[in-house]
């Protein structure tokens, strides 16, 4: 990209500069043509829908045409920020997504590190395959499994704890609001652990083996090698994924929360998307739902920019 901007071109008057840009574009016209469909694709699917944001400033009714919609200014936002439930669901969303982010990055990296140290190829491959299979299991099934495992009525976890005499009587895991975040995080970890570690394993495979050989000569042990070679080797991959995930902090979806939640834990299980569904779409308040969507997008963009800014300041590299 950089080579295409005008800054590289010697400053000899605007006429010259412009023509050189055009010249270069002309030289690369086939490349431009080839990328054109994708640019259009992005515009159609990512930018045109933003037009729909306008409904957030209207009292949108599906039967009216665009010109007949009633304009309400910022009323939807005023109502959103004035609703205390909104702050509650925001807290739940951020809590669960941050927990998911921390656990969902550290554990798979450790898992990948350990797998990477494995000698037997067959064993390593089998473990890898087995560990990423749950990724393909639907959340509906996972939620069923989790609630059955944690059930007080013959659930495996309670029976195990009882037989170890750690607890006197079955614990109602699913009824304790404060445990809900943990249950979601752990079941998410179980489901995605193997899948998330694949990309780290791939990054590790790309590290130059000569580095390891050299460090062996220098007398480095296994842990030294992990610390000084493997981890720095996957740093860029890790950071790209991490910063992109930060962008998804507020939009964590709602399947897990909807399927695992129950009336007793709603104060901990309701997330932004669920709130938008309930108070927006389900009640046909499309404008209100859109207002929540706008809030989501704006916060996401800000988060990514901030995360990238911090990373840039610390490492002098930029990811995006």
């Amino acid at each position: 990209m950089k080579s295409l901007t005008a800054t590289d071109v010697p400053q000899k008057g605007t006429e010259k500069k412009r023509s050189s840009v055009w010249k270069r574009a002309l030289q690369q016209r086939y490349l431009y043509l080839m990328s054109l469909p994708f640019v259009i694709w992005v515009i159609v699917f990512a930018y045109v829908p933003v037009w729909g944001w306008i409904t957030a400033f209207q009292n949108y009714k599906p039967k009216n045409s665009f010109l007949d919609q009633k304009w309400v200014g910022l009323d939807n936002f005023v109502e959103l920020f004035g609703d205390e439930r909104f702050y509650l669901v925001l807290r739940n969303t951020l809590a669960m997504s941050s927990m998911g982010l921390i656990v969902g990055f550290t554990i798979p990296v450790i898992f990948a590190l350990l797998l990477n140290e494995m000698k037997g190829q067959f064993f390593k491959r089998s473990i890898q395959t087995i560990s990423y299979l749950p990724h393909f299991v639907s959340w509906v099934v996972v939620a069923g499994l989790v609630s059955k495992m944690l059930s007080t009525d013959g659930g495996a976890v309670n029976q195990l704890l009882m037989s170890l005499h750690l607890i006197e009587e079955p614990v109602q895991f699913m009824a304790k609001g404060s445990w809900f975040w943990g249950i979601v995080t752990l079941s998410d970890l179980w489901k995605e652990l193997g899948w998330n570690s694949i990309i780290f394993l791939a990054a590790m495979a790309g590290i130059d083996p000569e580095l390891y050989e050299a460090s062996t000569v220098d007398g480095a042990g296994r842990f030294r090698k992990m610390w000084h070679i493997t981890l720095p080797g996957i740093r860029t991959t890790f950071m790209v994924l991490f910063i992109l995930s930060i962008g998804h902090l507020v939009s964590i979806g709602f399947e897990k929360q909807m399927l695992l939640g129950n009336p007793l834990v709603t104060d901990y299980s309701e997330v932004l998307d669920l709130y938008a569904l309930k108070y927006g779409i389900q009640m046909s308040r499309y404008s209100y739902g859109t207002a929540i969507g706008i809030f989501n997008s704006v916060v996401s963009i800000l988060l990514v920019l901030i995360a990238n800014g911090i990373y840039k300041r610390v490492t002098k590299e930029s990811i995006i």
Binding site: L33, N262, S284
Partner: protein, 568 residues
């Protein structure tokens, strides 16, 4: 310079090409849609039986839907050329399904939107059925008769958008609700009187003490409530109405004289009902998972035969009970009783409503051929059609003996003992899509339209049911309930049929109160008895903070408007 222009032209051309194809394809889509509509329209006028598949979206999940592959389904396809492709809510609720339908402006031909009809009407998606009925629906008109004006949408809009599925001229011969106890419990405890919650509790307790485990060694559960999903309304909060001498009016208690409405949790009587549930939890008779379990877990528990008592409606636990019957565990199936908080209350389940013009089936603006659809619905409403959907096909599912319709024994056995398979293979019960008469109405041949009539109900009962009923000296469960004319008719029908204006302030407040209720009621029931009042007070305070007073005022107005509209 020349190359530059060439380049620009290429670019322009490419862009134009993309837009032309994009617009072109959408135009084509519209055109084919219209053509198809016109194409089928014309021949339908001359009773064309050309095969036509219509989409039908139902807000109620029917796990035994047969895709027109059952006996009745095939017959109907042959008769009318129409086969129905049904869609049901998946995962989420019916509210999502219809809201998304409105948002995407993609409607099926027929809908049964339940409480979401307001959204569809507001979006202008429903066809006014009045002119269609006038012209093509003589049978529909005949069935609704004098109640046709109750189908009208509102005082401002006199269109008819749905054909209510509520039965016309219906007499309840049996009761599906109340409090349930397993037959084996009643037998073991010597068929005690079950009138108050105390009687109910004693029976469960006595049985559980003697039989803590099932034959296969599983621990029994005193009682379980279906409180983890939306049925919390059916299994937990509606019984509070019944146990305290009020009819079910949705989430509101309506004063029968003044028609003032309040949210029913605000009644002091109901606090006492929830206090009893709290007590049941305290003494360990209530299933601890009542508010955590999913519907399938609840059904699985019942189907294992471990649950001694339920508080539910028959339609909600019937699948599980049918599984018990299929396994031959009749002792573990349930008898039903009207149970009240104490002797001073009477169960008002059957307080009259007049004709309840409630949830119904409507035709959307996307229907390719509304005329053919209304004719289809009209056929279902005809005498022939009603006998078909209720009884099945003559010679196969029933015989006419001495002018009376009789169900052969093998068919009846399958119907009583394995109802799920029965429904799916015969289609009986799957095609209730149009106006029809209720139980107790006679057709021109002197037979009942429906298969539910006093004698038939008794044949429908399993041996276990019959034994229990005989022990109490009654014929049907309904006999436990007060007679139908024990209470005056409600002038507004039933308040749960009143729709909120979509997205209105009252609707938002209502949603908030529901969220509060779903959290606080389980909390109050599961609290330590000493804390019960504290939690319940906090619940009422939350309701007030959510501005329940304004909601009550608005709902009172809606009830009064309905009374005025219907008494015209």
């Amino acid at each position: 310079m020349k190359r530059k222009t060439q380049y620009a032209i290429t670019l322009l051309l490419a862009l134009v090409f993309v837009f032309v194809t994009a617009c072109g394809s959408s135009n084509n889509g519209n055109n084919t849609g219209k053509n198809a509509g016109n194409g089928t329209n014309a021949p339908a006028e001359s009773e064309n039986l050309e095969p036509m598949t219509i989409r039908f979206a139902s807000g109620d999940v029917n796990a035994n839907w047969d895709d027109n592959q059952s006996d009745i389904g095939k017959f109907l396809t042959e008769k009318t050329g129409i086969s129905i492709k049904a869609e049901f809510p998946v995962g989420g609720t019916d509210a999502d399904m219809f809201a998304l339908m409105v948002a995407s402006d993609d409607y099926p031909d027929l809908v049964m939107p339940k409480g979401n009809i307001g959204k569809l009407v507001d979006a202008g998606a429903m066809v006014d059925l009045r002119p269609l009925i006038e012209e093509h629906g003589p049978n529909i008109k005949k069935v609704y008769g004098e109640y046709l004006n109750r189908l009208v949408w509102s005082a401002d809009d006199d269109a008819i958008y749905t054909l209510p599925l509520d039965l016309v001229g219906h007499t309840y011969f049996d009761a599906g609700g109340g409090f349930q106890l397993q037959h084996q419990v009643l037998e073991a405890t010597g068929y005690p009187e079950i009138k108050t919650v105390q009687d109910y509790e004693n029976a469960i307790k006595a049985y559980l003490e003697k039989n803590p485990k099932t034959e296969d060694g599983q621990p029994r559960i005193g009682m379980s409530l279906n409180g983890g999903e939306w049925q919390i309304l059916i299994s937990v909060t509606n019984p509070a109405f019944y146990a305290t001498g009020a009819p079910d009016d949705g989430e509101f208690y309506v004063n029968q004289d003044t028609h003032e409405a309040i949210m029913h949790y605000q009644r002091p009587e109901e606090r006492e009902y929830f206090r009893w549930l709290n007590h049941m939890n305290d003494v360990g008779l209530l299933d601890k998972e009542s508010f955590v379990q999913k519907y399938d877990q609840y059904k699985a528990k019942i189907a294992s035969g471990r649950v001694i008592g339920l508080i539910d409606q028959n339609w909600d636990y019937a699948d599980a009970e049918n599984a018990l019957k299929a396994e031959g565990k009749f002792g573990a199936t349930y008898a039903r009783f009207p149970v009240t908080l104490n002797d001073s209350y009477q169960d008002h389940s059957f307080q009259g409503t007049g004709y309840l013009s409630g949830f119904g089936v409507g035709i959307t603006k996307s229907a390719a051929d509304p005329v053919r659809l209304i004719k289809y619905l009209d056929y279902l409403a005809s005498d022939e059609g009603q006998v078909l959907v209720n009884w099945g096909i003559e010679g196969k599912h029933y015989n006419v003996v001495d002018g009376k319709r009789v169900i052969p024994e093998d068919v009846q056995a399958m119907k009583s003992n394995d109802n799920n398979t029965f429904k799916k293979t015969t289609g009986i019960g799957n095609y209730f899509l149009s106006a029809r008469y209720g139980d107790g109405v006679l057709d021109p041949t002197g037979n009942y339209y429906t298969t539910t009539f006093p004698e038939q109900i008794q044949t429908n009962y399993s041996e276990a049911d019959k034994k229990t009923l005989a022990a109490y000296g009654v014929k049907v469960y309904k006999d436990f309930w007060p007679a139908d004319d024990a209470f005056p008719e409600r002038k507004y029908g039933a308040a749960w049929t009143l729709p909120f204006e979509t997205g209105s302030k009252a609707n938002v407040i209502f949603q908030k109160t529901q969220d509060i209720m779903k959290k606080r009621i389980p909390e109050a029931i599961l609290a330590k008895p000493a804390d019960f009042d504290k939690v319940y007070d906090a619940f009422l305070k939350d309701l007030e903070d959510a501005n329940v007073a304004e909601l009550n005022a608005e709902f009172t107005k809606m009830v009064k408007d309905r009374v005025e509209l219907w008494s015209k």
